[in-house]
Symmetry: C2
Subunit: 338 residues, 2 copies
């Protein structure tokens, strides 16, 4: 056996080992597998797909919960309190993030693990910062596949956090079963600033910081939201979205939020809405990925890399019609094998 073959063999063995460890709930193996999923290298893609194929039958057995809220709404404090509560009742909790800003800046909303110090230390919890780099579409794929890996590792509650800035809510809605929005007091003001359509994605609104002097205001805000929700299309057919209050700091409303979610899971499983949504999400994700990958292969192909600048020049300098330029480039691409 030559050296190269040996190296490949070793890697294959590593990947085999990795998914077996992952299926046993090994956190380090899970973290490594997610790193492979997040990598942009072709070789890592092959490895991560191999892992996914081998664990896919063990996925799907969690409740996937999206959590959004404007900066300052107290998302990390809430996730820490909520996650610790879930651990206390025997659940295994994974926290992932979709961060529209990280795809541009390389920054990350969950980069700082100290934000959820207690939860991060808990043996039943797994926290993963937002994958950095790449487009929002790329972050999207990485998060979806990370959810599957967490499920295979036995995590039964997956929390997907995102910043409530309007760009990523739709993406997160399409990968979760239940979507929770954290807000602060002053429904009217916040609604003004909220991007239209966000309210229609939500299954539960939690008015956070319902404690101390703020309690009365928080209750009034929840009532105001409930009045508005009354006029809106529900995010999930057959489920009436409600607004409730909570205090992540003194722990009130946390258990009640989980009760709402288990009730939701029960209802939607009974009505088949749960499976229907998951199946639709998978189909829609398949078509979006297919289009992304079709484009990626096209623009990365050597024929297109050579011909694109030539066609663009004809477009600019020889005043070629756009449709003709498109046809010329695609005909060359279609003939590339001949």
């Amino acid at each position: 056996m030559n050296n190269k073959k040996k190296l490949i063999r070793t890697k294959e063995e590593n990947v085999e080992q990795l998914y077996k460890q992952l299926l046993h709930g090994n956190r380090a193996a899970l973290a490594k597998a997610i790193t492979l999923v997040e990598s942009n290298a072709e070789r890592h893609f092959t490895q991560s797909q191999h892992i996914l194929q081998n664990v896919i039958d063990r996925t799907g057995n969690s409740i996937r919960i999206g959590i959004s809220g404007v900066p300052g709404a107290g998302k990390s404090t809430f996730i820490e309190a909520f996650g610790l509560y879930l651990c206390s009742i025997g659940k295994k909790v994974a926290v992932l993030a979709v961060d529209p800003s990280s795809s541009k800046s390389g920054g990350s909303i969950l980069g700082d693990k100290t934000r959820m110090e207690e939860l991060a230390k808990h043996p039943q919890a797994f926290i993963r910062p937002s994958p950095s780099g790449g487009t929002l579409g790329g972050v999207n794929r990485k998060t979806r596949e990370s959810i599957l890996l967490c499920e295979a590792a036995g995590y039964d509650v997956i929390l997907v956090e995102t910043v409530g800035v309007g760009q990523s809510e739709g993406i997160v809605r399409d990968m979760v079963d239940f979507f929770l929005l954290l807000v602060l007091t002053g429904a009217g003001d916040e609604l003004q600033g909220m991007k239209k359509g966000i309210m229609e994605l939500i299954d539960l609104i939690l008015v956070n910081k319902a404690d101390g002097e703020n309690l009365r205001n928080a209750n009034r805000t929840a009532r105001e939201y409930n009045q508005i929700l009354h006029f809106l299309q529900p995010a999930t057919p057959g489920w009436q979205t409600k607004a409730k209050t909570c205090s992540a700091i003194n722990g009130t409303g946390i258990m009640e939020a989980w009760e709402v979610i288990t009730q939701f899971a029960q209802n939607t499983k009974d009505s088949d809405q749960f499976e229907k949504r998951r199946s639709e999400q998978k189909q829609q994700w398949f078509f979006a990925s297919l289009k992304d990958e079709l484009e990626r292969r096209f623009f990365q192909h050597s024929t297109i890399k050579t011909q694109l600048p030539i066609v663009k020049k004809k477009l600019d300098q020889e005043n070629m019609p756009v449709s003709t330029a498109v046809k010329e480039l695609l005909d060359q691409y279609d003939r590339r094998e001949e």
Copy 2:
């Protein structure tokens, strides 16, 4: 010469004749050429591209003006008054339409030519209803190519009308030099209902129906819009968008609107912003078309038509990971010539 060859020859001769007549400003030839552009038949595509290639050097010499406004803002009455004024000062005016609803329903905002009866009869005017059928992307291509054909036929002002419902404004902005929004009195109310971001696309706001008892209200509304515009990013760098009043019915403000547009053309041509935008529009249109056509060819290919249902089944029933399904389908597509 056999019959088939003769037929093809005749068609080629017809197409040659068509574009020559079009270049001489023949309205029937222009209408026929646009029909070829609007057709979804492959054969007509080839013919329309042949025409476009032969007339492209005679395009670009117009000012392309987008006109939007909510239903009831008086778009047809305004276009009739504005178009007739332009004809009276020696311009040739073409009116095209982008109608987001027509791509679904087959209906058309300009289907009823009687809406602009006087203008339709004028020898210097050409009115074309919105192309029906197809996606908004398809309507988009058809309208862009129709603009070029109108220019080649000597029309020097192209009006592109659209319904102000938020969906099509961005598309129209990307194909015109100047974008005009018609509004009614009551800036506050209208702004509430206006989709966010629309204001940032506009180069001139005209408060219509500034006549009779409505005159005072219209003037106040224009002032309110001007106050708001003061805080917004201008649609065109170096150009301060303003709100003015007009009355399409008694003809006031029509000449002034044209003065604003000629001033705009002068300024943006002096600063090279005019050419810069047109060049960017062409590039962006090229890339959008390229992606559309890439997808169209993919999904219409026999390999994909056969394999897609098989892969979808594996996705559903055999629980294949999405990325694997995508890779399998694209690998088959890439190998299709082998």
